[in-house]
Amino acid sequence: MANSPDRLGDDVRAEARRAIEAIVLVTEQPIETGLLGQLLELRPAIVEGLCVELAAEYEEEGRGFQLVRVAGGWRYQTHPDQAAYIERFVLEGQHAKLSAAALETLAIVAYKQPISRAQVASIRGVNVDGVMRTLQHRGYIAELGRDPGPGQPALFGTTQAFLEQLGLDGLDALPPIGDFVPGADVVEQLEHGLRPTAEPLSDSLAQLDGADTEAAPPGDGS
């Protein structure tokens, strides 16, 4: 494989690994493979291979840190199993938890972006102005542009900070929305709850043919 790091000479390879470790250590945002490649004068695919290799190595050696791919780039972060130690002294800057309402709104924006406030509101069935503002303040969503249609409403999408917060490499790393569509049992329950007649439609249709008229369901005091 032409792009495999295995094809590099041992010296080049060792130097590239060291350089990656040094650069990623000082980057404040995840650094793209492309930029690393540019700085190292190596093809991105090779850099990618070396990063993957380093990441596996740290894990194998049981390091307290990880090299991970987040929001389209590489960064160092503490190993999740060290959370207890980190929480002991990193208090400032930790964001407060998002409310259920904020999370639902965020999920809608994440999966349906670009989307206007009104469209989000129509899915949630409630006013979302306050929640959208909070999410914008937190930096999880941002205005992407304006809808060319009537009123030119602002269209929103998720940000890099959103990806970093969720530890995702990109939007395509979000679990598919299809996973969350309620199962047949739930849909059936909903359907049943909302049935406009006591019998399913097919029964009503059958009754159209047969002249047999069943007694109306007993009223229930409404």
Binding site: L103, G125, G167, L190, T213, P217
Partner: protein, 266 residues
């Protein structure tokens, strides 16, 4: 059967309805309509301030429930009108679709929370470069003078339009069935014959379409329009009959007494 609607805090009408059907296992057939509507009204009272759009969502869904419920109370059989029947099912499908969508994103939100919680166990390094390299950094302020800083300050502190002024999203939700009927009464005589699809093709909001649908049903009940649907799930044809038509058919409708349609007497 008396039924107490247990109301924790509900985020909106869908939340409440999902809770009623899924958690409380409520079936419209078994529950007294009055208690459901009471539940909704109590929810409205709980709101600290009356938010129009939320209130109207609640009311609209309550109205749709009333419509569905009243269907169930009607005797099935003799005078079953298939078109009317299908229309109600279609209306039900719209509501069902919205509930499923709402439920889907509720689940997605939980998944995002899990992801965030997992990711939160790690802390990114954001320490930056050692001080010995700081001198090398390009001067970001090159070409910027004190006036630029002043300008930036003024830009940053411009009073931003308060978000509550931005009411673009309220407009589509504000429509009531009465409003929709008023519109239709003006629009339909001019069109003579049309389809529900054409009538609503310019509407983006599903809610808007639902409201129009309810309005069309009302007009039909009053005998002011005639409806036909040649195929299951096909286009619904609408023909304006007017007051003459209504009288001819023995209907009781007149344009005047439509002002009361929003009060369902179930």
């Amino acid at each position: 059967m008396p039924y107490e609607v247990q109301t924790p805090v509900f985020e909106g009408p869908f939340d409440l309805l999902l809770h009623l059907i899924l958690q409380e296992q409520v079936d419209l057939y078994e529950v007294s309509l009055a208690t459901i509507v009471d539940g909704y009204l109590r929810e409205l009272e709980h709101m600290e301030t009356l938010e129009l759009e939320v209130a109207s969502e609640f009311l609209l869904i309550a109205a749709t429930l009333v419509e569905l419920k009243s269907r169930r109370l009607l005797p099935v059989g003799d005078d079953l009108d298939l078109d009317e029947e299908l229309a109600v099912w279609e209306e039900r499908d719209l509501l069902l679709h919205r509930l499923v969508e709402c439920k889907t994103f509720k689940e997605a939100a939980i998944a995002l929370q899990v992801l965030a919680r997992e990711a939160g166990r790690s802390q990114a390094r954001v320490v930056g470069v050692d001080e010995r390299y700081v001198g090398l950094m390009p001067d970001l302020l090159e070409g910027i003078d004190a006036e630029d800083v002043r300008g930036a300050f003024l830009r940053a502190t411009v009073p931003k339009p308060a978000p509550r002024i931005d009411l673009e999203h309220v407009a589509p939700i504000r429509i009531s069935v009465t409003d929709a009927i008023t519109e239709l009464v003006q629009e339909l005589p001019r069109l003579g014959r049309t389809t529900f699809r054409d009538l609503t093709s310019h509407l983006a909001e599903r809610l808007h379409i639902v409201v129009r649908f309810l309005a069309v049903l009302e007009l039909f009940k009053k005998g002011l329009v005639d409806l036909d649907q040649p195929r299951t799930f096909g286009d619904i044809g609408i023909v304006w009959l007017g007051e003459d038509g209504a009288r001819e058919l023995g209907g009781v409708g007149s344009v005047e007494d439509l002002s009361t349609v929003d009060t369902y007497d179930g």
